[in-house]
Symmetry: C2
Subunit: 359 residues, 2 copies
């Protein structure tokens, strides 16, 4: 299946994993799971079941290029797309499509984030195989839909046609961004809604056509110099053109407007792993409900907590319930797990108060 | 008053201040108060009101000699007495007495720990001046008595004669080691008991006579080669003789046996600063009852806690009440303050489990 490609989006920061994640050392480059591999590396290896390494491309911010090469030494420079600015997902996806289209006009593509976890990899690959088969023979924009197990108000929801268009592939009726709780409860109860995981499958031809129709400005800017892609002049063109594209998400730019949008209801142990709390939920726990990352952690009367300590450090911790403890060499965080939404604000306060952007 | 001398006992570890204190870096060498000076340095400077620096001697374990010189560069090598082994306080005090007696037969001496705090220094110095005046003209063993403000079961108590022998100097009737709570309450209520702070005043001649009478083995061993003291052969003699002395406290060896024991009931903001909890009690607190040591500590909804973080590290801490948090480069301790007596045991467990004696 040499027409199959994967584009891994690795340009974000994952700031809710502070103090482990920093602007200069984003979440996807961290061993967030405590398994000895970064999230980016785990994501890359997962996709090797779908296509060879040379068909996997990484889209990242220019300043992370060296970190990508470090984590994925298999890749050539041409496989690392460097955004000169953060313009949200639509320009990023259009850039990837133009580049792969120039490489292979029949390119059939999976676009996926670099920092999610997938517990049931085979089911994930099966769903993607099915999606790629569908998009290879249909002019379709397909987004994997996750069967919701709770009325989470932090996700976008996909309302889908209950009757499949083709085995397991359903037409999407409507997207709803992060709904209020009552609405989310109704969505889950109806059985006709899925979470939007931001994992897209389409032919580059199909997605470029959608851009032309629904986001013509982006199409025009990034399509202005097709001959540059995959040549020495690509980066110079992108450095000049990309920052002038509208900053907009692919959901707003094309998915919510297009008619040919499909989903495959799926269940493969997915988490966008947005916060320390979600890492605690997804990880294996000890008998007291603790998740520990570190070689020398001694816990006493401590429960339901997430404790991440560097391997060369000893921690002796007692009397804590439902806490997040993250110790980095320059920052120590100790915070109630159920109040972790306060951390982002505190981080801002820190940078203000101590005037240090690296924190 | 060139007959006045001070001997500062600086051979202990202060293990209850783990993980700040370690075998290789005892409490007295740490800036426990967060004021920029070690406890030893603070103690030394306090005594400069009593006698010149050349009359202040430090008794320590041989392995801490370099650290003493670092903290007290004013001292000559002859002012640092190095014990080759830890034999408790009686041999240590006898060694000091023999050495100062050889230097000045009229030596009148204050013996004091290196790791206590004294909040009202002038009252402390006044009490010592009075004590030195008394011992200079009386064959007396004097121990400062602290007026107790609570029935603490962690201290030894001094029962004293209510009628003074001489202005403010009272004869001691009896010592009681760490009493049970009910007894301690009765002691405090009676008004006839004081805490034994381990701060002694006596002429070297008086204390050596007491050793000869009540602890003759120690006197014999350390008095076997009087001509060696303050010469090049002193250390070799001590290295050979000292480890053979009985391991016994000065309280058991002489104070509880001697007849000529006196005390001065005193009150000068004393604390033996035995634990993190006592440091919290004695230190200035913020409006939430927290004591913080560190340059970049951001607290949120945190109360009555002691937080000690190295100056170059940021800490963001929320939702804790009554905790001890100590972050050293290689060890992090987070523990309920009212359960700090468990820490010592946990430390033992740590050394066992992780097989690391430096921890």
């Amino acid at each position: 299946m040499s027409n199959n490609y994967v584009a891994i989006m690795a340009g974000g920061v994952g700031s809710r994993f502070w103090p482990a994640s920093r602007e200069e050392r984003p979440k996807q480059f961290l061993d967030i799971m405590g398994v000895g591999k970064s999230l980016l590396r785990l994501t890359f290896e997962r996709f090797l079941a779908l296509c060879p390494a040379e068909n996997i491309f990484i889209v990242t911010n220019g300043k992370y290029k060296e970190q990508v090469k470090e984590h994925l030494p298999e890749l050539t420079d041409n496989q690392i797309l460097c955004e000169p600015s953060r313009n949200n997902t639509a320009p990023c996806i259009a850039y990837t499509a133009f580049k792969l289209q120039a490489l292979n006009p029949d390119a059939n593509l999976v676009v996926a984030p670099s920092d999610h976890i997938i517990l049931q990899e085979q089911r994930f690959i099966d769903a993607l195989q099915k999606a790629l088969t569908f998009t290879s023979s249909n002019d379709a924009l397909l987004t994997l839909g996750i069967e919701p197990n709770r009325p989470d108000t932090g996700y976008g929801y996909i309302n889908y046609e209950p009757i499949a268009s083709e085995a397991q592939v359903h037409k999407v009726k409507k997207f709803t961004e992060k709904p209020p709780l009552e609405k989310a409860k109704a969505f889950v109860a109806s059985g006709e809604y899925l979470w939007n995981a931001g994992i897209f499958i389409w032919k580059t031809a199909s997605v470029l056509e959608a851009f032309q129709k629904h986001a013509p400005a982006i199409h025009e800017i990034l399509g202005a110099n097709l001959s540059c892609y995959n040549t020495d002049t690509e980066q110079a063109f992108i450095d000049q053109a990309y920052p002038t594209t509208p900053k907009i998400s692919v959901d707003f730019a094309i998915m919510e407007k297009a008619e040919n949008v499909y989903t495959i209801p799926s269940s493969f142990g997915w988490s966008d792993l947005g916060t320390w709390g979600s890492l605690h939920v997804e990880s294996d726990k000890d008998s007291q409900g603790n998740v520990t990352q570190g070689d020398s952690i001694l816990l006493h009367d401590t429960h339901n907590s997430l404790i991440r300590i560097s391997p060369d450090k000893l921690a002796v911790i007692g009397g804590l319930d439902d806490f997040i403890i993250v110790d980095e060499s320059d920052v120590l965080l100790i915070y109630p797990k159920n109040r972790e939404q306060e951390i982002k604000q505190l981080r801002g306060k820190v940078q203000e108060q101590f005037g240090n952007d690296t924190l």
